[in-house]
Symmetry: C2
Subunit: 522 residues, 2 copies
Amino acid sequence: MRTLQLLVVAGSLMVAGSAWAQQATKADPAMLAKIKDEGLNRSRVMETAFYLTDVCGPRLANSAGLARANEWTRKQLTDWGLTNAAVEPWGTFGRGWEVEKSYVAMTAPYYHALIGTPKAWTPGTNGALKKRVVVVKAATAAELDKYQGQLRDKIVLLDMLNPPKTSFEPDARRYSEEELSKMAQYRPEASVGQPADAEERMATRRTLLALRTKLADMVVSEGAVAVLSSRGGSDGTFFTSNGAPYATDAKPVLPELEMAPEDQLRLIRLAEAGIAVELEVEVSTRFQSQDLKGYNVVAEIQGSDRKLKKEVVMLGGHLDSWHAATGATDNAAGCAVMMEAVRILKATGVQPRRTIRIALWGEEEQGLFGSRGYVKNHFADPATMQLLPDHEKLTAYFNLDNGAGKIRGIYAQGNEAVMPVFEEWLQPFTDMGATTVTLRTTGGTDHLSFDAVGLPGFQFIQDPLDYGTRTHHTNMDTYERLPADDLKQAAVVVASFVYQAAMRDQKLPRKPLPAAKPEQRL
Amino acid sequence: MRTLQLLVVAGSLMVAGSAWAQQATKADPAMLAKIKDEGLNRSRVMETAFYLTDVCGPRLANSAGLARANEWTRKQLTDWGLTNAAVEPWGTFGRGWEVEKSYVAMTAPYYHALIGTPKAWTPGTNGALKKRVVVVKAATAAELDKYQGQLRDKIVLLDMLNPPKTSFEPDARRYSEEELSKMAQYRPEASVGQPADAEERMATRRTLLALRTKLADMVVSEGAVAVLSSRGGSDGTFFTSNGAPYATDAKPVLPELEMAPEDQLRLIRLAEAGIAVELEVEVSTRFQSQDLKGYNVVAEIQGSDRKLKKEVVMLGGHLDSWHAATGATDNAAGCAVMMEAVRILKATGVQPRRTIRIALWGEEEQGLFGSRGYVKNHFADPATMQLLPDHEKLTAYFNLDNGAGKIRGIYAQGNEAVMPVFEEWLQPFTDMGATTVTLRTTGGTDHLSFDAVGLPGFQFIQDPLDYGTRTHHTNMDTYERLPADDLKQAAVVVASFVYQAAMRDQKLPRKPLPAAKPEQRL
């Protein structure tokens, strides 16, 4: 309820809030103006985003592109005057992989080049192959039996469950005031208990897993030569994922490509109408097992307060991406904003009381591995909850990884005590659309690694734009999808949050420590 | 004003209108019910669309795909019981062309397969070539001079003028009642005179033409090896066109591909940042000059009235398409609907007084050539306006070629006398969204060929859907963009219009004959 009241009377609270802030945090009120001026008038966030996306390229876990990005960001942060910049290993990940050639075309009943990309960690075709297709449609593992003896020397087309339709909804949208107000009012009591269909959904998942496992074995044992699939998308946009484990001892799989739905569906319709469909596929992929480690990039702005400089405020986002595009909104955007935030702070000549540390995580897409490894190495292992000395020195970790939309507020991640602090810190940004603190927890990204060991880890609320519809894990997650004004706003808000956290007398309030979770072993 | 009143009181007019219709046209009122029943409950329009798109494939002017479609439609119309089905040459078109292989990828600074397609009638690369790129940006022909000596052995990247942006508007939409009402109220007086910027636009066009002509010469004379360009689109969707004339004596051009904007822009950004960009391009295209003729497909339902059966009602759409997709909305949709309309009529056991003739045009995309040739061969040459005997026998030509949207009404094409007839014919379809007769003329497709010699040629008003944003002349004009319900509705409306025109005592009223236009020689 307090949250809502604060929002409603935001105008009058701004003055009171600022006065209070000065006392409590000793933050220089002129700094906010400097941050806005630097971030809005001399922004370099789009240049940073260009280097992360176009220049470094796709940044799949343990790929050459991610290594380029690690090196470039380390150097760039150093050039901006940050200290202790390093590419720091977090542990063992698995094999590196990249595409060396990808070509797929229909050669009968007529020629048509197709849009697709190899699934990550799948092998190549050993030169070009020209083969007939067979469509495999099955809802359960048992239904696969009818294809026994049918797959030899064939390219398997997997059925597509959600064909694209004419779209009467815009790709991109922003949160409405009503949606934000609902988030602000959220209290966990309202949504306790299991969803009614939880058991049904689990059963569906088990069926699907059994189907997939059997299918993966069957295409190999039956002698098929490649697999083409499509998980969704439209208009030439398609979703990508990994098609095989990155572990060095992973079971062999077939070459597999994810396809634009329009192409996949055309092939399926033709084959099902009894028309002989022949494809030419030439894929070459390269594995590397020399360096199996994963890495994060870290760099610091040193604290200046004798007592507090051992304490740290962290900010970050994951630098790795999927491989079919340049991971612009997932998550070059977040990294560019976080880098811009520390660049802005350096440009203002900031003298933070606490040390500010940026971290750009590796291998997030495979399971938050970079941040989980970092947290385990520096703060605590959630499996044991034996705390390392630095655990008490971290005041907060701020994450950005919900696309390229501007910041509309922040998830307090169930930490009720932190809400008034964040509400105060947002006051200067109400006119820029950042207004909302929600008690809600949000998942799916690297703040969870901190939250898992009782450290205050937060993700900002961002306008969704076309993240869910068009860019997230697709082949069209490119530089074009980054609206400069959104990224500039986000960088200014983050810089201010980080600055406030670095200046505040007290560390941010924490939730109670969680119990050890032995199953969370990395 | 009359149109508007009719619309407003549509409910009460329906009864009066139907009674009048019976008297005047001797149309069987039970036929409408039969048409709706057959078209809505036993539709085959999607099956027809599947054959035209997926099975026949891209249907570029004088291509193997168009020849397949000609043959399939001729046979299908015959199988449905139509008579005199024929693939009828309309005159000389030019060379046939098709893609045999199309592969383009960035190989430095890192590997990435790119989305693109050869421009129509461009040559191949004679095997794979791997070359560096150079970006050419020029607003005038004179600005090209700075690239002299820079293009040898390079792949030329042409600048892209309209980069995609995050889209907050839906791809597809339907006409609102307000828009339709505006169309119904349209009177030509409201829009006389040249637009204010006509001269400026002409000047811009001249500048652009000079630029393009010089550029085409320069890339050849300076020794570039290929050209990559992008005219628009987004998300993997791009627009296609022809890159060279189809005439047998056309000047030589370079291999040229049209690219997905995201790929083209990435290459341009990298090259402009001073990063060495290398591409691999392998394009093989095949020309054929053995048969330079163009063709239309025609078929008939014979008239049964002793006096009127020599008269003809025509309906049609163009069967040819661009080559980067399967031309689903442009214009397999129109052809499938027109074919379905005659199938429905046959299925009802229709005994039309006049003969009904369907025509599926070739080579529309290059200048309405199929319909213009047909009109010249059968009715009149607009260059001389010497009328052939059949000129007086055609009561109307109905065309469909504005995408896959359902029919919302019809353009009276400046023929005021025909409006009350069409208003009456639309009455049974107001509950299906077809309500509007507009005096407006509309262009861009084959009814113009009839209109040019004073024959009543009409195009229906269709919901725009995603025709302008996503499908028209793009690589994503595929079967997925065809909403079955829209096509079914359209087929029923067209079948009814054609039936009414075939049964009416009088031919439809005509506009005065136009003057001969010697410059319109085909």
